[in-house]
Subunit: 339 residues, 2 copies
DNA sequence: CTGAAAGCGCTTACAG
DNA sequence: CTGAAAGCGCTTACAG
């Protein structure tokens, strides 16, 4: 099939190519009547604007980039990313932007991808995930002046726009809930230690437990995989003063922790209460269903996308706090059985 | 930052823009020495080719499209898609192709996306998932003459290329294994009934069970969600002649089934054996770990991507049978407890 | 093996 | 409000 071009529309409408372009872009330069006629003809002959030509002359790619920098095995299993992507994508496609996705091995490779995207004019901006402490991607993006929204923070995002949720508040709510149930020995299985939000949660947990006088509070680090989450749980439950409640930094590790508890002959929630961060359908899949900290992740992604499109449109950088995760109590938490 | 263009490289190298283009594309027209010199200069001044300009003049988008047509809630939770995407992406980025992702609501919307991508010259080809019976996307893509690889089959893919795994063989291996363990009442919780691979599995299951004289063999349909998988399991386990083994069409439903069995006071594998299709880390997360039919899904995605790139490069359509899923026995299957 | 030039399909100042 | 024209940064026949 031969694709119609703007010249075909112009010929059919009896106007110049320029007029068609103005009509298509909703810009002044054509009368409303002419605009409508041009648009109708464009639809009629099945015209779509060539993205390449538009990208070249208008210096806009019509696409937004997302580089995902976790090992493939972690990526696949956490529902978080797919949920985020679906939200991002919904917002982008409503505004006729495409989403370009790339999986990278490490932050250096990710920076290389940003440079290439910038050089190739592949994307008009990027969404940055998994903010780290002293994240080298931030100065790299600042230097490229590539529009970007960092999904993470607050803090550590330089002059770039950012979007985050109040993990400190969510953690506080969770710990206070567990304390109200009667727990005094609470542990936490954290995600990768150099991620900024892990750091925020760890600091908040330490400070809060000290304030509440929970001396046995301990954080152990993991990598978000079920394997590591299970191992960490096994270690925790084997210690002399084993915790009566564990907070996990993601759903997958929490489910692995539940299995380990069952395997060690402990009942949940009788012997051990479990809370999962990042509520997902997985949490309702297991028995007992997991108490979890949830938020609307597709909406989170949609907000980030909208924020990025605003910056691409020329608005100044912004820092936005999104919805705070809410605790949904389910069957995995209860008062500790008296011992 | 000002982006260097091909003209800058040409000036630095003291050659014409055409020569730089030939050097970049590895085409005859420049001597090997000149090519090396041009490439070195390009790297030195940080040149990347504008994708827009290349797309416009070479009539190639440098991108491949993937439209995902499941509701967001199913998408996020099944590890399958992320694993597939990571494999696709690895293959594409190794050949400097980008992956354009779009989430769509239904097959009609998906066809509209293909038309738009074609009209905008956004992608050079597409990967088609979730092949259905009488799939309208097939004639639409044939009409557009948009290069495509259908991940699914065999059959029902018209003149398009396709890639599939032998689900009939995998199902047969599984049923024979369960029968060897002593199971006679085997049920199957299937995915969406209008998906081609569900149909293939259902037909194979019915034929095989009849051949083996398993008269209670029953297939119930579901939608891949844990919720529906759990409901189907509850129904099966409440029937007078409840099955002693259930085969699930995905990992998520199998885990939900396990929870339901536990909730109903049945032990797995003592009272009920469970097999999950699409082995994933989730299957090893639960207790007992699930016996599962697995294959290398990133490799599957990579193969599909490679096949598509070959077609884009002008090779004829091909139909390829990929690796057959392998059964990995774990703790969720055993001989049925005598009753 | 190399250079000059047309052309891909748009957008956008610039005249009218 | 509209038209003619330059230009975006490449690729690719076409001459030399």
């Amino acid at each position: 099939m031969k694709r119609p071009t703007i010249a075909d529309v112009a010929r059919h409408a009896g106007v110049s190519k320029g007029a068609v372009s103005y009509a298509l872009n909703g810009q002044p330069g054509v009368s409303e009547a002419t605009r409508q006629r041009i648009l109708a003809i464009a639809t009629e002959i099945g015209f779509s604007r060539s993205n390449a030509a538009r990208a070249l002359s208008a210096a806009t790619a019509g696409a937004v980039g997302l580089a995902l920098c976790r090992p493939a095995r972690t990526l696949g299993i956490e529902p978080f990313f797919m949920a985020l992507i679906s939200g991002v994508e919904a917002e982008l496609s409503a505004r006729s932007y495409a989403l370009t996705l790339q999986v990278v091995a490490d932050p250096d490779a990710e920076i290389a991808v940003y440079r290439r995207w910038w050089g190739e004019r592949r994307v008009d901006g990027v969404l940055v995930c998994d903010l780290r402490t002293d994240d080298l991607r931030i100065p790299a993006l600042e230097q490229l002046q590539l529009p970007a929204v960092v999904i993470g923070g607050p803090g550590g995002t330089g002059d770039l726009s950012s979007l985050w949720s109040d993990d400190e508040a969510a953690l506080t709510e969770t710990v206070e809930y567990l304390v109200a149930l009667g727990h005094r020995r609470i542990a936490r299985v954290a995600g990768l230690p150099d991620l900024r939000h892990t750091e925020i949660r760890t600091d908040a947990f330490a400070a809060l437990c000290q304030r509440l006088g929970l001396l046995d509070a301990v954080t152990v680090w993991s990598d978000y995989t079920g394997e590591e989450g299970g191992r960490a749980t096994r270690r925790l439950l084997s210690s002399a003063h084993r915790p009566t409640a564990v907070i996990y930094d993601n759903d997958v590790m929490a489910i692995a922790g539940l299995s380990v508890a069952q395997e060690m002959g402990l009942t949940v929630p009788g012997d051990l209460s479990i809370v999962a961060w990042d509520d997902s359908p997985l949490c309702r899949l297991v028995h007992p269903p997991l108490t979890a900290l949830g938020r609307d992740i597709p909406a989170y992604g949609a907000h980030a996308a909208r924020q990025l499109l605003a910056i691409i449109a020329g608005e100044p950088a912004s820092r936005v706090q999104d919805e705070t995760p809410q605790l949904t109590p389910r069957g995995s938490t209860a008062p500790p059985r008296g011992r």
